[in-house]
């Protein structure tokens, strides 16, 4: 080849060809998507992110969570993501339009997280103020589990202060069932959960599909609840001894119990639990990252993608309890399976 000019043109041309083809044209095709909404303009999905969710995403990025966890559900005819209850439909470009950065992920050393918020149990009645997804533990000495009245899954999320503010679940359009305050007393079935024998946790995890880890040990918060996430981040091997996940202890603080145990304190047991008189509380970053996780929810149906996992076909303003029916019936594992 003679001459700089043809070489230069060729070098530039081959670069431009792939650049245009793989980035510019797709930007033209799917680079300006808008969220979907129904006829009345309500039920917008997805929603722009804000607050703790955004900061949580940054913590997620900075700590490299995306190097082990993916956040994309593959179609049912390609892979078994949906059979594993990681979603009720495949992910579509529209699911990610408000994410920065996008954490599609390239590795699954841990589960896919695209719908981890949807797989959470019904929001727990949280005595903690502030509305952040605090790992509210029912701190009364008699109980050791967090989801005290959570067995009342018809509690509208709006009614419970314990939910993450930026959750992608649309506001409950159907009138809330008007949970009277009497629900604060745990149902007798729930109380069974708190007995030291912890017989009933076997029921929830056995029933909760898509929870492939071994039966979780007694005394742990319900799987995928905010409290569970905090324990999982702090001491993953207390939940599953075979887990490879690093312990993000630096996201938590160990401090002396000042008077009363803090509502945010993690429920730890065994070797991970702090000594008597000490407690482990999450830093703000930890709360943000858990708020982020609790907000990861792609179960909302999209017109362009077929929902497979049994989402309510009407889709219109389902009760919040049914929202999670597809990925995992959230309270199917509610502790009071047998009627006492």
């Amino acid at each position: 080849m003679k001459g700089l000019a043809p070489l230069f043109i060729g070098i530039f041309g081959t670069f431009a060809f792939s650049w245009v083809g793989l980035t510019v044209i797709p930007t033209w095709q799917i680079g300006h998507l808008n969220p979907e909404s129904d006829e009345e303009g309500t039920d917008i999905y997805p929603r722009p992110q804000s607050g703790m969710f955004v900061r949580g995403a940054h913590v997620y990025a900075a700590n490299g969570c995306a190097y082990c966890h993916s956040q994309q559900v593959r179609a049912d005819y390609i892979a078994d993501d949906i059979e594993r209850k990681w979603g009720n439909r495949r992910s579509a470009p529209r699911d990610y339009i408000f994410e920065r950065p996008v954490f599609l992920g390239k590795m699954r050393m841990g589960q896919d997280l695209a719908n981890i918020g949807a797989r959470a149990p019904a929001p727990e009645e949280s005595p903690a103020p502030g509305g952040a997804a605090s790992p509210a533990a029912a701190t009364s000495p008699a109980t050791t589990t967090a989801a005290a009245p959570a067995s009342a899954p018809s509690t509208a999320p709006a009614a419970s202060p314990g939910t993450s503010p930026a959750r992608a679940v649309p506001p409950n359009a159907s009138p809330p069932p008007g949970q009277p305050t009497g629900v604060a007393s745990p149902s007798p079935g729930q109380m069974a959960n708190t007995t030291p024998g912890g017989s009933s946790p076997a029921a929830p995890s056995a029933q909760t599909p898509g929870a492939p880890w071994p039966i979780q040990t007694a005394g742990l918060p319900p799987m995928y609840s905010a409290a569970w996430h905090h324990v999982h981040l702090y001491a993953p091997r207390s939940i599953n001894p075979d887990s490879n996940m690093p312990a993000y202890r630096f996201l938590y603080e160990r401090r002396r119990v000042a008077g009363e145990r803090s509502a945010d304190a993690l429920q730890l047991s065994g070797g991970d639990a702090p000594p008597e008189g000490w407690e482990v509380v999450p830093t703000f970053d930890a709360k943000c990252v858990v708020a982020y996780l609790m907000g990861l929810n792609q179960s909302h149906p999209l017109k362009e993608v077929r929902s497979v996992g049994g989402a309510p076909a009407a889709g219109a303003a389902p009760s919040p309890a049914s929202q999670g029916a597809a990925p995992a019936p959230p309270a199917a594992g509610s502790p009071a399976a047998p009627k006492k």
Partner: protein
């Protein structure tokens, strides 16, 4: 005496020493000494840092409580730190060192302002240092291969401009009428890297694209970096070293031309194969898979070209370190590409996506292909810069075998483990944790391979250090891997 008319600070050399060509080469080598050695020294320092990081990362994956709980040592930060040190610290700098030397030699131009390039190298080092520090302290951007924060990108751009503009200018003012194959590849590399890097930075940070396109841009960038920057440098190097060492011409100009253009055309489209089955329009993914199939054209072409060039001279690999490393690298290119095709096909990708197989693929490309080729070039170039030969042939041999076995074992472990991991992930009857249990022993095997690679790199760094300190052998005969039985003309 000074035939080139360029004022040089070099010592007097007698014209009686050799013919014009040799003198010219000596001058060129002398002029490239400071910048190239600076590149190499920095690169090897980063190699050691990156290798230590790699060991910790590898061990932590199967023993997560090792050094656990500390923020800047958490796996999720060490892994991008390792990757970026290797990509921007080791590979880029070693590649640039080799490329600058090759460009100077082939353009038959002495490096006019070597301190400018050296300054560029210093800036680049600063950028990588800041970037790695930022990642460890929690400022990673979250985009794979582009984890350095935005301010580091600015530093790297400035550094690169200082370094590469001279390389491109050298090409512009080259002497001789033919442009050799290596020069095509190197010119391509020097131009592609800033364009690809700038496009990636622009579309992710300056004018960010929406949603999943960020992932598309990220992997377009990553694969283009792998092929159009590292791959081009490595292929160009191989095209120089192989014919140079054995003293025969490259087999066919036509093969080389086709190989170059098809390589540039098709390899740049392969990025989306890392996102098979993802939330993208199917045509993007399929285009990348089709491009990967089409990269079999340059792979076959280049492979054939090298093979036919080497025909009859393979026994020389027994002696020449450069030849051995370079041929290993060139063969790895073929293996790497074929594996790339196999794992991109949708039916296979549904199994191997999200498994360790993609790690095996990346390391095949960056280590077995690129790094081994660059090692070969360093074994050739360094004696010409320091005026000494490598001191211990045994150390070179150890380096080679430890690296070869190390990367071979690592690839095997990750491919096998990854396939099993994928098979278990695809079996919904098994809990997800089963796939992790399956791959764990292979990860331990990978750590073992990592030990081999660590040993190899420390040996090489030590050996290079000896050369830097002027402790190499003074000899007219190069250091061979094995003693030469008879007096042959196969020396280089």
């Amino acid at each position: 005496m000074n035939t080139t008319g360029i004022p040089l600070k070099d010592p007097e050399v007698s014209a009686a020493a050799g013919d014009m060509e040799q003198l010219e080469r000596a001058y060129i080598d002398a002029s490239t000494r400071v910048p190239v050695l600076m590149f190499y020294t920095s690169a090897i320092a980063w190699l050691i840092v990156g290798t230590v990081l790699a060991m910790v990362v590898s061990f932590k994956l199967h023993s997560p409580d090792l050094l656990g709980g500390i923020s800047f040592l958490t796996w999720g930060r060490l892994r991008p730190a390792h990757m970026n040190v290797m990509v921007y610290g080791w590979a880029s700098m070693a590649g640039m060192g080799t490329a600058v030397w090759l460009m100077a030699r082939l353009c038959r131009a002495t490096l006019r302002f070597p301190l400018l390039i050296a300054a560029g190298a210093a800036f680049w080092n600063v950028g990588v240092l800041i970037g790695v520090g930022a990642i460890l302290l929690g400022d990673s951007t979250g985009f794979q291969w582009l984890e350095f924060p935005r301010y580091v990108a600015v530093i790297l751009f400035v550094a690169y401009t200082l370094m590469a503009s001279w390389a491109v200018l050298m090409f512009r003012y080259r002497r001789g009428d033919q442009i050799y194959i290596t020069q095509w590849y190197l010119l391509g590399a020097f131009l592609w890297f800033p364009w690809v890097y700038a496009a990636g930075q622009l579309m992710l940070f300056v004018v960010p694209v929406q949603g999943v396109l960020q992932s598309a841009v990220t992997w377009w960038y990553a694969n283009n970096l792998l092929f159009l920057w590292f791959g081009a440098i490595a292929l160009g190097t191989a095209y120089y070293m192989i014919p140079k060492v054995i003293g025969r011409p490259v087999y066919s100009y036509h093969l080389a031309t086709i190989g170059f253009w098809t390589y540039a055309l098709f390899s740049s489209w392969t990025g989306m194969t890392r996102l098979v089955d993802g939330p993208f329009p199917a045509w993007m993914i399929t285009a990348s898979i089709a491009a990967t199939i089409l990269t079999m054209i340059p792979v076959a072409t280049v492979g054939l070209n090298h093979h036919l060039t080497m025909q009859g001279y393979f026994p020389l690999m027994r002696y020449s370190p450069t030849l051995r490393f370079t041929v290993f690298g060139a063969m790895s290119y073929t293996v790497f590409s074929v594996i790339g095709v196999l794992i991109s096909l949708r039916s296979v990708a549904s199994y191997v996506n999200f498994t360790q197989v993609s790690i095996a693929y990346s390391h095949l490309g960056l280590y077995a292909f690129f790094t081994m080729t660059i090692f070969g070039s360093m074994y050739y170039i360094v004696p010409r810069l320091v005026g000494r030969e490598w001191r211990y042939g045994s150390l070179i041999k150890l380096h080679f075998w430890a690296s070869a076995y190390g990367i071979g074992l690592m690839t095997l472990m990750l491919l096998a483990g990854g396939f099993l991991q994928g098979a278990n992930m695809e079996n919904p009857a098994l809990p997800f944790s089963e796939s992790i249990e399956t791959v764990l022993p292979y990860l331990r095997g990978r750590s073992l391979a990592g030990i081999l690679l660590t040993v190899s790199h420390f040996i090489f760094a030590y050996h290079f250090g000896l050369m830097l300190l002027g402790l190499g052998r003074t000899s007219t005969v190069p250091t061979f891997l094995n003693p030469v039985e008879a007096e042959t003309s196969g020396g280089h």
